[in-house]
């Protein structure tokens, strides 16, 4: 991915800033990556290279770590992050159905971002509100008892249009947003 102007500056500053708080040791690698991702939203290639250089370790090791841990992303996330809980309690009462619905409506798969970078979708394990299963976390806000109807409701609240219900005629509604 090529960087747009100003982005490189942003990345360099982000990494430099993170490096101020940590020893330049291998042990600092995960805290560094978390911090940089906290700032930039993801781990751009350049950031990984800069960190590798600073810690004097092979870049492939940084990349290896970033692809090993669930928490790290290599691509910018969407503006709104939708996390569908796939913990045991949620799965048993239809967490996968909620995930399906988001996938169908947003036309993306798990761990993907919509082309307009509005939404990204991921699955998480138990968020600790099993009582309200199935649970979806939308931008840190926990939504409980998420049915397909509620999925549409959530997306509508972000101004995402939903294909009209077929209640009236049979033709209507096929045009996606």
């Amino acid at each position: 991915m090529s960087l747009i102007e100003g982005e490189e500056e942003l990345i360099r500053n982000g990494v430099a800033e993170a490096l101020l708080d940590h020893d330049r040791a291998r042990e600092s690698l995960i805290p560094l990556l978390l911090k940089v991702q906290g700032k930039l939203g993801y781990l751009p290639a350049l950031a990984m290279e800069l960190i590798a250089e600073a810690l004097q370790i092979p870049a492939v090791d940084v990349y290896g770590l970033a692809t090993f841990y669930n928490r790290f992303r290599l691509n910018p996330p969407g503006k709104h992050q939708i996390q569908v809980c796939m913990g045991t309690a949620c799965y048993m009462v239809g967490g996968d159905i909620a995930l399906d619905c988001f996938e169908r409506r947003l036309e993306i798969g798990e761990d993907e971002t919509t082309p307009d970078r509005e939404f990204s979708l991921e699955r998480v394990a138990c968020v600790g509100c099993c009582t309200m299963a199935p649970v979806v976390v939308v931008d840190e806000l926990v939504e409980g008892h998420v049915t397909p109807t509620r999925v549409d409701g959530i997306l509508l609240s972000f101004g995402r249009e939903i294909p009209k219900s077929a209640e009236k005629t049979e033709q209507e509604g096929e045009n996606s947003p």
């Binding site: 290639a45 990984m48 290279e49 370790i57 092979p58 870049a59 492939v60 090791d61 940084v62 990349y63 290896g64 692809t67 090993f68 841990y69």
Partner: protein, 219 residues
Amino acid sequence: MSKKVTITIDGREIEAHEGEKVLWVALDNSIFIPNLCALKEKEHPSGSCRLCYVQVEGRPEPVTACTLAAKEGLSVQTRSPQVDRLVKSAFELLLSNHRLGCGRCPRRKSCALLKIARERGLKMRLSRLSALELDVEIDESPETFAFDRSRCLLCGRCVWICQEVARVGALGFTNRGITRRVGTFREVSLAQSPCTECGLCVEACPSGALYFKEKSDDK
């Protein structure tokens, strides 16, 4: 590591250094134990291929020989019904994720899998498992060698050599679980990586994943 001890392998009494791993004691004395991931120079064994199981007297379950330290009086059998079952199972699991068709493999005369199959009477085909999807792209970008991931067994020998011996750091493990692979930074080709083409990784590869373009087994 200087103290000498006597251990028994398959009934043979053998002198070994205390603490030395039984796998090496056996191999040095021409007793075969299947292995892929072990490297003698590596201080802490990786224990990932799970092929080197042996039976230790007094222990109900098989133990990996590459992690088993020699100590006075230790007695092991390289074969037992349990060991054979585990080895056969691990072997078939590896095969299920390995491109077969040994006839066209550049390493068909020096392949570690073939050797294990011969020694243990195992078949080079799947009996109860179905073949998994393979990573088919072959990286032919280096001038002297190529990397065919569909034959990679993830033993990790090349990674260790590249990082600890050659000190290049072009290769590393990436991803996790079933998607774990030997890769480069952002999965670029080897030519785009810091690879110096020293060739040490190719020599370390026990299968046909890394091979010299010129020196394959049919030349």
